[in-house]
């Protein structure tokens, strides 16, 4: 089963893949701004007309073809944003990254236009409470940084890029401390501005910095994916974690944890990816609370996270982790709750890589058999994941039956116990009664006949005469 298909909710609907022009039936392409090739040509020609004057100025200034193109396309992005506001369409996902590129190279800001718009909308209420000028300034600063980094993204090594991005984050902090328009903001507001700026920059640079071809990330992704697939037989018992796989409430929480960790791949900014991890861990803690009735300690949490990671088999896991650890603001990865959860995820992945017979409490030969796929242990979870609903129901009902049988047995044994008790009680009462009867035996005496004083009876005549009172 492909891991991507496992999640309870599909991540991309077909409508989102269609051309942005509502009347058009073709599929859209991310690199063409979400349009199909036909619609894009029309849109681009319109944009080119409106921006031609600017472009001429710019060309005569720089004389550089590439930057000229990127300039015009940032104008295109502005046009696009306007159009989007009119139509109020849902943002599109960037799915077809490797498809043939359009004739003119587009800047990464244009490519990420829809995601940026989404980011803007998410933060709109926040910026409404503070100065609008702040948002404009952040966006302008970010755009300049993005252009600078995008220009060198293909030339520099990942480590250099990492340093450069971290440097940019520091510059942003310094800027917010130094500039006048930020001086009125509280520490929390500044922090949120900073997060917004980080998300802005990384949303734009995602395509060039995620899983860059200069690294081994892609290979590592494949290795870990295969490894997890090999380990698909591992269940909660092997990991000694307290997840009862048949309980509906627990299963729902496991599903939501899995959905969250799968959604990590579709988020663009490291901060957003990080919050997916946080939400996943939150679901795990909730399910552990259901399972054991109290907050979970690390002893319970890590096995559960490993279990969820194994069952989710998140796509491009290594790339995502490396992307976060390289390009997320270092400060967020050192302290704080998110850092703790991310560290745990790294720990879980490292555990999965090094999993052995010992770590799942199995004898060596049994472990090897499972790993080679010769023997498949029965697991409720696997059948549930194979989308075999009836199998799952059967398994569940078998568990219910077992439970019922046990309870039935209990009832029967209690009933027989009660029966014995009743018998014993009867005997006891009988013997007690007998003893009592023996103590006080019932002796029947002949019935005395009453004497009739007034009758003519020879007996009464022998009696002395009644005493006569003497006066």
């Amino acid at each position: 089963m492909q891991s991507a298909a496992r999640g309870p909710s599909p991540r991309v609907s077909e409508a989102e893949l269609k051309c942005k022009n509502d009347e058009c039936e073709f599929y859209g392409n991310a690199q063409w701004g979400g349009y199909c090739s036909k619609c894009r040509k029309i849109v681009a020609s319109r944009a080119a007309k409106s921006e031609s004057r600017l472009r001429h100025q710019h060309d005569s200034f720089s004389g550089h073809d590439r930057s000229g193109a990127s300039y015009s396309s940032s104008g295109f992005s502005r046009f696009e944003e306007k159009r989007r506001q009119q139509t109020e369409k849902k943002p599109k996902m960037n799915v077809f990254k490797k498809s043939p590129s359009p004739k003119e190279p587009a800047s990464c800001i244009t490519l990420a236009a829809s995601e940026l718009e989404q980011l803007k909308q998410e933060n709109a209420s926040f910026f409404r409470t503070i100065d609008q000028q702040v948002e404009k300034d952040i966006a302008a600063t970010c755009r300049s940084h993005v252009d600078k980094i995008a220009a060198v993204a293909e030339l520099k090594s990942v480590d250099e890029l990492e340093k450069q991005i971290q440097q940019v984050y520091k510059l942003l902090v310094n800027k917010m401390d130094a500039f006048k328009i930020y001086s009125r903001l509280s520490a929390e507001e500044k922090d949120q501005c900073l997060i917004y700026a980080e998300n802005y920059i990384m949303t734009c640079l995602y395509t060039s910095l995620f899983c860059p071809p200069t690294t081994e990330d892609e290979n590592k992704d494949l290795i870990i994916q295969n490894r997890i697939r090999q380990l698909s037989w591992v269940n909660a018992e092997h990991l000694e974690c307290k997840i009862s796989e048949t309980e509906p409430e627990v299963r729902e929480l496991v599903y939501s944890a899995i959905t969250e960790i799968l959604s990590m791949d579709s988020a663009r900014a490291p901060n957003e990816k990080l919050s997916c991890v946080v939400r996943c861990c939150g679901a795990i803690f909730r399910l552990l609370q259901v399972a054991q009735g109290g907050p979970a300690s690390a002893d319970d949490f890590l096995p559960a996270l490993i279990f969820v990671t194994l069952k989710a088999n998140p796509p491009r896991l290594k790339s995502n982790i490396n992307y976060i650890s390289r390009f997320c603001n270092e400060n967020r990865l050192v302290s704080g709750e998110a850092a703790y959860y991310f560290t745990n995820l790294c720990g879980a992945v490292s555990f999965i890589e090094g999993i052995g017979a010992k770590s799942v409490n199995l004898p060596n030969d049994e472990f090897d058999q499972y790993m080679s796929g010769k023997v498949v242990p029965v697991s409720t979870w696997d059948s549930a994941l194979l989308m075999c609903e009836s199998m799952r129901v059967i398994n569940e009902q078998l568990t219910t039956l077992e439970d019922l049988e046990k309870r039935n047995g209990n009832t029967l044994s209690t009933a027989s116990l009660l029966h014995q008790e009743i018998l014993a009680f009867q005997d006891d009462i009988c013997s007690k009664l007998d003893a009592l009867v023996e103590q006080a035996p019932l002796i029947l005496r002949p019935i005395k006949e009453p004497t009739e004083l007034d009758s003519e009876n020879p007996l009464t005549e022998s009696l002395p005469p009644p005493i006569v009172p003497q006066v």
């Binding site: 340093k163 902090v173 790294c346 555990f351």
Partner: protein, 223 residues
């Protein structure tokens, strides 16, 4: 003052952020210890938070605000190898053992060795003998444990999460040492900056950066 990547530095001169990692065998009471410290309850079922593995504590020490992030770790033997991922960039470590269990003390010793090897003297260590309420069953010799702690430059405390004994003192003492350490490091860095600015041999700093880069690449490799 800028925020530095190295964990427990001052956040804009406002206070200090310290990361403390709890290490020790399973069932020695790591979680109970930190839950007692942060929430003042013994039974983890009474904790108000959803989880008891990552807890924050704010305190004020010598006029400085200190923010403690306490990271609990899984104590099972099979997760031992994951240690480096957790104690990376932490300012302090609390190594918990059970006074009634000699094995857990040996385990704590192993952690000390590993931490000193990987992080050197930068990390403040505290060895804690928990469950002192079970004094009658105590098997780990107090004197030996104290001597061992002194020999590796760590503090030693006896605590009881059940009776709430010694925990507050233990964390307070650890905070004091972490604060001293952070201030020392800050001074050193300022001195180094000063030297670098004064002397024309700026290359020295570049070499340091190179070392840092090596560390970070090592980090991404281990995750």
């Amino acid at each position: 003052m800028a925020t530095t990547p190295d964990g427990g530095e001052s956040i804009g001169g406002r206070g200090y952020n310290f990361k403390v990692v709890l290490l020790g065998e399973g069932c020695v009471g790591k979680t109970s210890l930190v839950v007692r410290y942060v929430e003042d309850v013994f039974n983890t079922k009474h904790v108000t938070t959803l989880q008891a593995s990552f807890l924050n504590k704010k305190l004020s020490l010598a006029g400085r605000r200190v923010h403690l992030s306490i990271w609990d770790t899984a104590g099972q033997e099979r997760f031992h190898a994951l240690g480096p991922i957790y104690y990376r960039a932490s300012n302090g470590a609390v190594l918990v053992y059970d006074v009634t269990d000699q094995d857990s003390f040996e385990k704590a010793k192993n952690w000390v060795k590993e931490l000193r090897k990987m992080l050197g003297a930068d990390i403040c260590l505290t060895i804690v003998g928990n469950k002192i309420d079970l004094q009658k069953e105590q098997t780990v010799d107090t004197k030996l444990a104290e001597e061992y702690a002194a020999s590796v430059g760590a503090s030693h405390f006896h605590t009881s999460a059940k009776l709430n004994a010694g925990i507050e003192e233990m964390f307070l003492e650890l905070c004091k040492r972490m604060l001293e350490q952070a201030q020392k490091e800050a001074e050193q860095r300022m001195a180094a900056d000063f030297q670098a600015a004064a002397s024309p041999r700026r290359n020295v700093v570049v070499v340091e950066d190179g070392e840092e880069a090596l560390e970070t690449s090592g980090r991404s490799a281990c995750c």
